[in-house]
């Protein structure tokens, strides 16, 4: 099952929504919470709709619009989104209303916009799109599940154009709670020096990344998604290298075919230890890169990685800020492997290749 990436739209803690640039200008954060750099939504959404949209809804709808514009597609044939925590801000608003007012005088708008499928549904209403519409909500593999469904749709209907999106937000309240639980780095930090900081925890992120997938060849395509694999590992076994080797074998590839690897290292020593066998495996053979210092850690972070892979393939350029090693690979960057794990329980692997 394969698909070309025809269009992209990405709102993240880096200046990524402007497609003309590619991480030349990188935002440094000295806090453990990375917040999205957002466009002026008035340029993208009518005031009558904008007025009551939550932040994540604005981000999602706008990133989707940017993606469709980039792909020069007006109407997708499927809208498939993934989100882990869903519409946090609206959920908090409604919940606080219940707790503060004893279940009285509550505002319906917050409830309506708290449902996980809000972004996908809104996109459908705004486009008048009656086609297949789904939202996946399984934490760290929400994007991968949505991607799998997208690939299945394209296999069932090869002429389809599928709009795939990953959206996730971090709110102030949720950051404070999770910070008190030890999720995030403490003290003065810089996201750009994240790997040098060996204290426990990582940095929090968020974002909205959309992709227009199709089976149609075009010089506009960024790249081709050629493979996807997830593993569920609740027994906490050591599986990453085995997972990669099985994948390569199944796709009749060997390690020499992988020009570049994008790893989900996040600066938390316990989590990053899981990547050690992987970096050992690729050392000296492939260029290794990472991305969570740019977008932060969140359930949909792999959508940022997919954006990164697509941009690298199209631009045939590796931004210095993401490099982990200096292994040079002369010639064209053909195959990129994106590898991510969450608590060693969920592992995901995406192979994206040049067209």
């Amino acid at each position: 099952m394969e698909a070309f990436i025809r269009g992209i739209g990405n709102i993240s803690p880096q200046p990524t929504f402007d497609n003309s640039a590619f991480l030349e200008d990188v935002r440094e954060y000295n806090t453990a919470r990375l917040q999205s750099i957002e466009p002026d939504y008035k340029n993208y959404i009518k005031p009558i709709q904008l007025r009551r949209m939550s932040r994540l809804l604005k981000m999602g709808v706008t990133a989707a619009g940017m993606c469709l514009h980039d792909a020069e597609v007006e109407q997708p044939d499927a809208i498939i989104t993934g989100t882990g925590l869903g519409m946090m801000e609206e959920t908090e608003k409604f919940l606080n209303g219940i707790l503060d007012n004893g279940e009285k005088l509550l505002n319906p708008t917050a409830f309506i916009q708290s449902t996980h499928n809000t972004v996908g549904a809104h996109i459908a209403v705004m486009l008048g799109c009656n086609k297949y519409n789904l939202t996946y909500v399984h934490g760290p593999v929400s994007l991968e599940n949505a991607l799998l469904d997208s690939l299945m749709c394209l296999s069932e209907r090869p002429s389809d154009k599928v709009l795939l999106g990953g959206i996730e937000e971090m709110t102030e309240a949720h950051f404070i709670i999770t910070d008190s639980m030890g999720f995030w780095k403490k003290g003065p930090i810089s996201n750009l020096d994240l790997l040098k900081n060996k204290t426990p925890g990582t940095i929090a992120g968020e974002g909205a990344s959309f992709f227009l997938l199709s089976r149609e060849e075009s010089p506009q395509n960024y790249g081709q998604i050629r493979g996807l694999s997830t593993r569920f590992n609740p027994e906490n076994q050591t599986i990453a290298v085995n997972h990669i080797e099985d994948f390569l074998a199944a796709h009749k590839l060997n390690i020499a075919d992988i020009d570049l690897v994008i790893l989900g290292l996040n600066g938390d020593p316990a989590s990053d230890a899981i990547y050690e066998p992987v970096t050992g495996y690729f050392e000296g053979k492939s260029t290794m890169t990472w991305y969570k210092h740019l977008c932060g850690e969140h359930y949909l972070a792999s959508s940022f990685a997919l954006w990164l892979g697509a941009r690298i393939l199209k631009n045939q350029k590796i931004p210095g800020i993401i490099r982990l090693n200096e292994t040079p690979k002369p010639g064209k960057i053909r195959n990129i492997m994106i590898y991510n794990h969450y608590k060693n329980i969920y592992h995901s692997l995406i192979l994206v290749s040049s067209c």
Binding site: P47, I48, R51, R52, L105, L106, N107, P108, T109, I112
Partner: protein, 85 residues
């Protein structure tokens, strides 16, 4: 009446987050829903909450709401009637 309609206009703008609209932009007799301000059924529900919160008037049937919210003036009339009781 005029004091109430002016107050209502401000409250409607605030509750429905009509950021780009000022009270003087709203005509007291213009339809709030459909073509007028372009409000919808979710806005109607928010106005029902507004009536309860700010005027202690509870509307049980949302269909009743549609008639009351025809315009700012009909809203004001409804409030004045209920406050007499």
């Amino acid at each position: 009446m005029e004091e109430l309609t002016e107050k209502l206009k401000k409250e409607i703008i605030e509750v429905l987050n009509l950021e780009d609209i000022k009270p003087e932009d709203i005509d007291v007799d213009a339809p709030l829903f459909g073509d007028g301000l372009g409000l919808d059924s979710i806005d109607a529900l928010e106005l029902i909450v507004l009536l309860e919160k700010n005027y202690s008037i509870k509307i049980e049937d949302p269909k009743e709401g549609r008639k009351i919210f025809t315009s700012v003036r009909t809203m004001a009339n409804f409030i004045l009637e209920h406050q007499k009781k």
